[in-house]
Symmetry: C2
Subunit: 357 residues, 2 copies
DNA sequence: TTGAAAGCGCTAACAT
DNA sequence: ATGTTAGCGCTTTCAA
């Protein structure tokens, strides 16, 4: 590892000059001739600053703490981390990741991250829920990922659950479905409520029937199977929006038993909770993929904007893809829109106002 | 953050004394009276060393670089990271994670990790394969995770694929199956070959039929469905070991079409590649869970042993659980054994000699 | 416009 | 047995 000292010696100047130049603070303070020389030798020697040494003076490490819960038990951690990483790398930041069970260990881990001098925190959950930012994080730059901070103590990046339900239902309607059912979950999740409201809003807007009997909240196994069968016999839906695609498996079975062909007699859209279903069931099932990668990505951008306000905001990417019509959509993964909260900057370019929380 | 200097002032000694005491190097160099005092004030003040400052002198940061590929696309990253994290936390280490696509960016990311002074590297893959340790890592302490280093340039921790096939097949045999088939994959993976050999070894050992026609390598969708149907009609297996559980879905359908009940007429064991199948199909399907958490965990322990040989080795956990018989095994997740390579210490207590690579 | 010097928190060689 | 000093790589006054 080559140091400023070496550059200074090689160029015949002092370390402070090198520091000035290499930090871009040389305008009008260092002769441009010298500055050029310094930059040159730095380049040829392949100089890279030592972030540790730097942090000793600046108390900025270029590291972000990524705290996640339930990491080991869900398949989404990778995508969130990847997104976070990409946004971090863009700005030369790096991720210090810890995962906790939310207990005592959490406080310990946060302390550890603080000792290492991280410049800010990502607090990620593995499914959308309402959370309280841990006490130890309240006074630090932080962003909540894939969840919503209850008291708005910091910005949150979460999926737009309402829009998911709305989009999925519009998708079915535009594909010609007229009796659209909703297969939801009995679990008490914000996502359940909001997706259902999106579903209802889309039906209402289209002037289609939206009776309670088109809505079934189910668990797993026999219960789910029974309800899927009942839904088919009772309502004869021609489209079903499934809370997630592991629910859709029951509809496959129910449909098969009635000699109905999925993709022709019955269309399905499910929020992807496991790739394998789409992989094996494709093409008739359309899946909506939760924007895990994007949440990680935007959370970091949001956090960096908070840490380093002077820097120019990076452009916003497209946040909402148009759903392709069903007949060519088989198994296609669809990115849905994001909610962004707590940031005037980001809100400006944000997804259409939608919802609830 | 409270510093050594403050402790020194408070106790009325010099910083070096504090350093000696707090690093446990005070035996015979510092009067125990003073040492006690120092330790006391450190404790009451809640002193925690600043790893950055320390690293400036020692070039040991207490950080490990975790490099992973294909992180975003598989559901296993979380578990591996979690395991790595737990083993790291145990020793006060922390993980600096980056993910790469294996291209130019990889070298860059590795450089970044080096600048941050990580003490060693984990190089993780998301499915078992043969890899070459990146050039930039060859001269550093490193451990390959969920893959095997081709030239044995560093230790590797990977699933024991042979044992997986062997265990799964034994499981079926012990549950009473006599015609055990194998539903493998057409993909060219080390795991495919090795699991199949394990399967064959178990059949041979038990003196059961092991003809080639009991073995079907399949892809997805129609091909898989056709082969599953053909297997059923042609061979009438009473047990099937599936390369992974997303394959087993075809057997469910084939069995249903023949009014055979899975769990009674036909037993299945599949290597878990997605929890949802087990969740929705349970109980008749037994899944074997790949030891992702354990691999992460052991990789870090292995790496730390390499970095810090003087420390006492931590005890080895049980690496291989006994499979419960099928009638009470519905949906149970079974941890399989691990291969550990490149470490005499760990090899001593390793899983039964098994295999191949 | 440049350099010398101090100091971030810590460790380690060298004096007492 | 303890303190003094130097220095890790860098930033930042402060002088020149």
């Amino acid at each position: 590892m080559i140091t400023m000292k070496q550059i200074a010696e090689r160029t015949g100047v002092s370390v402070s000059t090198v520091s000035l130049v290499l930090n871009g603070r040389d305008k009008g303070r260092v002769k441009s001739e010298i500055a050029r020389k310094v930059r040159n030798t730095a380049k040829t020697l392949g100089y890279r600053p030592n972030p540790m040494a730097r942090s000793l003076r600046t108390s900025k490490t270029g590291m972000l703490g990524f705290i996640s819960q339930e990491v080991a038990t869900t398949p989404y951690a990778g995508a969130i981390i990847q997104g976070a990483q990409d946004a971090a790398a863009e700005r030369g930041y790096v991720l210090l990741t810890v995962s906790t069970d939310g207990g005592v260990r959490e406080a310990e881990q946060i302390q550890a991250l603080k000792r290492y001098g991280v410049d800010g925190f990502l607090f990620a959950k593995m499914y959308d829920q309402d959370v309280d930012l841990p006490q130890a994080l309240r006074s630090c730059p932080a962003v909540v990922v894939n969840a919503v901070e209850r008291a708005d103590r910091c910005p949150s990046i979460a999926p737009d659950e309402f829009l998911i339900g709305y989009d999925a239902t519009r998708h079915l309607i535009e594909s010609g479905c007229r009796r659209v059912a909703y297969l939801g979950t009995t679990q008490d999740l914000p996502a359940q409520e909001d997706r259902m409201r999106g579903y209802q809003a889309a039906l209402k807007e289209a002037g289609l029937p939206a009776g309670q009997s088109l809505i079934r909240l189910v668990g797993f196994n026999q219960d789910a199977m029974d309800q899927a069968n009942d839904l088919m016999d009772d309502q004869h839906p021609d489209g079903v929006f499934c809370f997630n695609d592991s629910r859709s498996i029951y509809l496959y079975q129910a449909a098969a038993a009635r000699h109905l062909s999925i993709g022709r007699d019955l269309n399905l859209v499910g929020v992807d909770n496991h790739q394998v279903i789409a992989e094996t069931m494709a093409p008739p099932l359309s899946t909506i993929e939760l924007p895990h990668y994007e949440m990680g990505f935007w959370a970091v951008r949001r956090l960096l904007a908070q840490i380093n306000p002077r820097r120019v905001a990076l452009p916003l990417p497209e946040t909402r893809a148009v759903l392709p019509p069903l007949d060519q959509a088989g198994g296609v993964r669809i990115h849905c829109a994001l909610i962004r909260k707590g940031s005037t900057r980001l809100d400006a370019a944000s997804a259409p106002a939608s919802t609830s929380r």
